[in-house]
Subunit: 266 residues, 2 copies
């Protein structure tokens, strides 16, 4: 099977117009596809209304019991189900999932180190059989960033990581393309200048860019997830604006392509 895994973040979720435009595009996107979504901004807003102040550490959410309840409500309920209902309206059959549903993604609670992230899970395994069953019936799985430990505990998990792990697991048997949509044209030399796009990154370039502090903070885990995927057999990894997805899928230059270092050895 040829499968596209597409990840969208808060910049799409939080804007009704952008969200509608993206979902129409996703519904028309050729081939079998999986959507993975974030939603941290809305979770922070609703949490704050409930008197639960967001507690972030290096851009990652510290997830105590109350915060876990909030992200479960917002990601798996409010956002996920509205995305699914919209996709149905646009003619794309879809099913909203957490990692607990059909045991789709099992994770392990991150041990407390220097920082105790609380109810945060690192992915252990992806149930590709369930995904294949759905994809064969042209039902697009729509994943929010909640997983479980198979012992009854839900766990908050980074959405980029979920996208990367799903793509990697499926790549063992299928041709998989992974698209990370975010609020930039791609990886930029200068974050303030959209014209400074870097069209292709491999690990050599990546290391240089980190050394030169061109890539920093939130872009580092995002690129780590991208390299994880390309190094573990995902056929194509792309980062860019959601509105450039179709161009990117047609091989046009409209974002940053992540290449395995191995590729350079040939």
């Amino acid at each position: 099977m040829e499968i596209s895994v597409i990840k969208i973040g808060g910049n799409v979720i939080d804007h009704p117009e952008k969200s509608t435009r993206f979902l129409k595009l996703f519904a028309k996107f050729p081939g079998t596809k999986i959507l993975v979504h974030g939603g941290g901004v809305l979770a922070s807003r609703i949490g704050t209304s409930l008197g639960i102040t967001p507690n972030m550490h290096h851009g990652r959410r510290i997830t105590d019991k109350e915060t876990l309840d909030v992200v479960t409500m917002v990601y798996a309920g409010l956002i996920n189900k509205n995305l699914v209902a919209s996709l149905q309206a646009f003619g794309q059959n879809a099913i909203g999932l957490t990692g607990a549903d059909g045991n789709a993604i099992k994770s392990i609670k991150r041990p407390a180190g220097e920082v105790d992230y609380g109810f945060v899970g690192d992915v252990e395994s992806v149930n590709t059989g369930l995904l294949e069953t759905l994809l064969k019936q042209n039902i697009a799985p729509v994943f929010c960033a909640i997983t479980h430990d198979r012992k009854g505990q839900l766990l908050n998990t980074n959405a980029d990581t979920i996208a990367s792990e799903i793509a990697t697991a499926l790549a063992k048997k299928h041709q998989v393309k992974l698209y990370f949509c975010f609020d930039k044209t791609g990886v930029l030399m200068d974050a303030e200048n959209e014209a400074s796009l870097i069209p292709l990154i491999n690990e050599d370039i990546y290391k240089e860019l980190i050394k030169d502090k061109i890539i920093h903070s939130g872009m580092i885990p995002k690129l780590e997830n991208a390299f994880n995927a390309i190094n573990k057999g995902v056929n194509h990894v792309w980062m860019g604006l959601p509105e450039n997805l179709l161009l990117a899928s047609r091989g046009k230059n409209a974002g940053t392509i992540i290449e395995s270092l191995k590729y350079d050895l040939y």
Copy 2:
């Protein structure tokens, strides 16, 4: 296929110990099964924390846009996903669904009459194909009381009605038993006296009980859903305590059995 549809309400959901006991029982319950759950009390509590006061009319929730967001968060997110994670821990593969997921249940927004219930949906159709696919793989569908209109709108729908409509739709091709769990031993002659159980009700008895005001308020729509199911081909309809489910499934007298009037004609 022999399918059991089991509905649980807030009296189970709201008590961690009762909930755990029930979910262990559900995991062991013989045969293929579907769970339908409510959760209105928790939705009211979280809505109130968010400054959204519950607005009820004859025991039914008036669902404005903000209330719809709350019930979507609480039913489809918080409650549904925790139930699914617990079932996974108890060895029962399960998948949490709204009517939007896989287009499982399509409903139509109730037209404003004397009362405008807002974003409330009356069930139009159930996608039995999706349910059969899941049940054949021993995945128990777990439904919350949210449906969609297939035009992108989520709709709040009575959980008893969802259970009844799922059972009715599946009964066209399968042997279906429908179990309504609630906080009484069954239908009672005297609501304050658990010993006054009515072990069997048909429509003749039902009309008498309404006339005598023994059945009133919330029990009326519940029994209407029960009769709807039994009159449309569901093989067995039962009402009682969740802890009596196993007894009931073995044909023991432990609750109220609903019989079709038609049955009496033979």
